[in-house]
């Protein structure tokens, strides 16, 4: 199913209107509008400091944008700097999974508990049920044998896979990936991307900030190029083969043929 077909049938999963965000006097984001349909995979690329991560962090209110609005699953989470009431926001955040550059696994919990803690404390599951759910998610990403390990004992790739499982164990409907392979050794990047590809194939709605152009080309329905705002967007084909904007061209050149 292509992105345009979905548009006509369903309500958007996530909708951003005229978003603007400043840190002090520095305007990091401006005039951003974006619609993400269910099962769509949107990849955001752009030079560092272009506001990609900030935009992603706005999507679950880790950062609060001062202008514009964000709507997730038909619920406005922020409008012109005014947040949804705390309780509703927390409930909505359960549907929005976030995967961080630096993993942020809970260091005092075992792999199993890292995944089970959310379902137990937030979805009201019994310990046994939550652990069963956690085991099934961990088995899916090939870490069934490491359930008793602690994060410090895992490789970067394993940590990031656990972080993905942790996010999926909630009632996740949108996954946000903030440069998930950035902190990984090159040989570990593949195992994380593979999990993400499988997730996309299952129909998960995903917004991915990444420098992995191969992933963008293979998996994305839509690629956004950012530099403070969305300067260009289109299918991977359009962006990579025929970039319109000069800024996009120079960015792609620098990243595809470094040095």
């Amino acid at each position: 199913m292509s992105a345009s077909e979905k548009t006509s049938q369903e309500k958007p999963m996530l909708e951003i209107r005229d978003l603007g965000k400043s840190f002090g006097s520095v305007r990091v984001l401006h005039d951003i509008s974006l619609t993400v349909m269910p099962s769509q995979v949107v990849v955001i690329i752009g030079p560092s400091g272009s506001g990609k991560s900030t935009l992603l962090r706005c999507c679950n209110c880790l950062e609060i944008p001062q202008e514009g609005s964000i709507t997730i699953c038909d619920k406005g989470i922020v409008t012109d700097g005014v947040l949804l009431p705390e309780k509703e926001l927390n409930a909505l955040r359960m549907h929005v999974g976030m995967v961080f550059q630096s993993f942020n696994l809970f260091l005092h919990l075992s792999v199993l508990d890292n995944v089970a803690v959310g379902p137990r404390k937030l979805r009201g599951m019994s310990r046994a049920k939550a652990e069963e759910l956690a085991r099934s998610h961990l088995a899916k990403i090939g870490l069934a044998e490491r359930v008793d390990a602690y994060p410090a004992m895992l490789s970067g790739g394993q940590k990031q896979r656990v972080a993905i499982a942790r996010a999926l164990a909630m009632e996740t409907r949108v996954m946000l990936f903030d440069e998930p392979t950035f902190a990984l050794d090159p040989e570990l990047v593949g195992e994380v991307l593979q999990v993400m590809k499988a997730l996309a194939a299952e129909g998960m709605t995903m917004i991915v900030v990444t420098h992995e152009m191969g992933f963008a080309r293979d998996v994305a329905d839509e690629v956004l190029v950012m530099d403070g705002t969305i300067i260009e967007h289109g299918t991977p084909q359009e962006i990579f083969s025929n970039p319109q904007h000069a800024r996009t061209q120079s960015f792609l050149e620098s990243i595809l043929s470094p040095g």
Partner: protein
């Protein structure tokens, strides 16, 4: 056998040990109060933007950490009755030691919490936890581990500081020792004996904390 220089100590040992228990009691009660107050005040001082809570908590720390324990004890015991508030000596000593120590513990708590990587809070919040849940389930569980060594210091200081409550007519270890000295005039021997008993108490306390620390360490919590 002729009476040796240590005779007053041996004769008074029963009393000394008995009153060492009072020292232990007041210290343990004060420690419980200190930890509760320290935890609340430490968390209250995390966010300066909440002006009232931050202001009250900071004033508390300013006063109790910034003035001598002895002065605070006398204020509470001798001057509060002027306002018709009469507390038993033991209660006074316990509250005062607890509040004094709590001001230090609050800084230990605040420091430990702030040393936890912000990503832990972000991960917990983005999962849907409220601030309180994230603090309890994720942050404090990790911060406690970092609190234990400095809390050990504080606990030992508390045991030693408790000697001052003897001045409130409380019959603690120090008070009992001074009674023996008043009768026997053997201050060197008796004070050495008192020091030894305090040393035993502080050693037991620090060993207990080491055990707690060991128990709490899991999974080599270093990322």
């Amino acid at each position: 056998m002729e009476a040796s220089v240590l005779t007053p100590v041996w004769q008074g040992m029963g009393g000394l040990l008995h009153d060492a228990l009072v020292t232990v009691e007041v210290t343990v009660a004060a420690l419980a109060l200190s930890c509760c107050v320290g935890l609340l005040v430490g968390i209250a001082r995390l966010n300066p933007k909440n002006r009232i809570v931050y202001g009250v908590a900071s004033t508390y720390v300013l006063f109790f950490r910034g003035t001598p324990l002895l002065v605070q004890l006398f204020l509470l015991f001798f001057d509060l009755p002027q306002f018709n508030i009469m507390l038993p000596a033991f209660t006074c000593g316990m509250i005062e030691l607890g509040l004094y120590s709590g001001s230090y513990v609050s800084e230990i708590v605040r420091g430990a919490i702030q040393s936890i990587d912000n990503g832990q809070m972000e991960a917990a919040r983005s999962m849907g936890m409220s601030y309180g849940q994230a603090m309890r389930i994720i942050i404090l569980s990790q911060a406690v581990l970092r609190m234990v060594p400095p809390l050990g210091n504080e606990f030992i200081a508390l045991i030693k500081n408790s000697a001052l409550i003897s001045l409130l007519t409380i019959s603690d270890l120090m008070h009992e020792g001074q009674k023996i000295i008043a009768i026997s005039y053997r201050s060197l021997e008796v004070y050495l004996a008192i020091a030894l008993i305090y040393l035993v108490l502080t050693t037991i306390a620090s060993q207990a904390l080491r055990q707690i620390e060991k128990r709490l360490w899991v999974g080599g919590m270093v990322q």
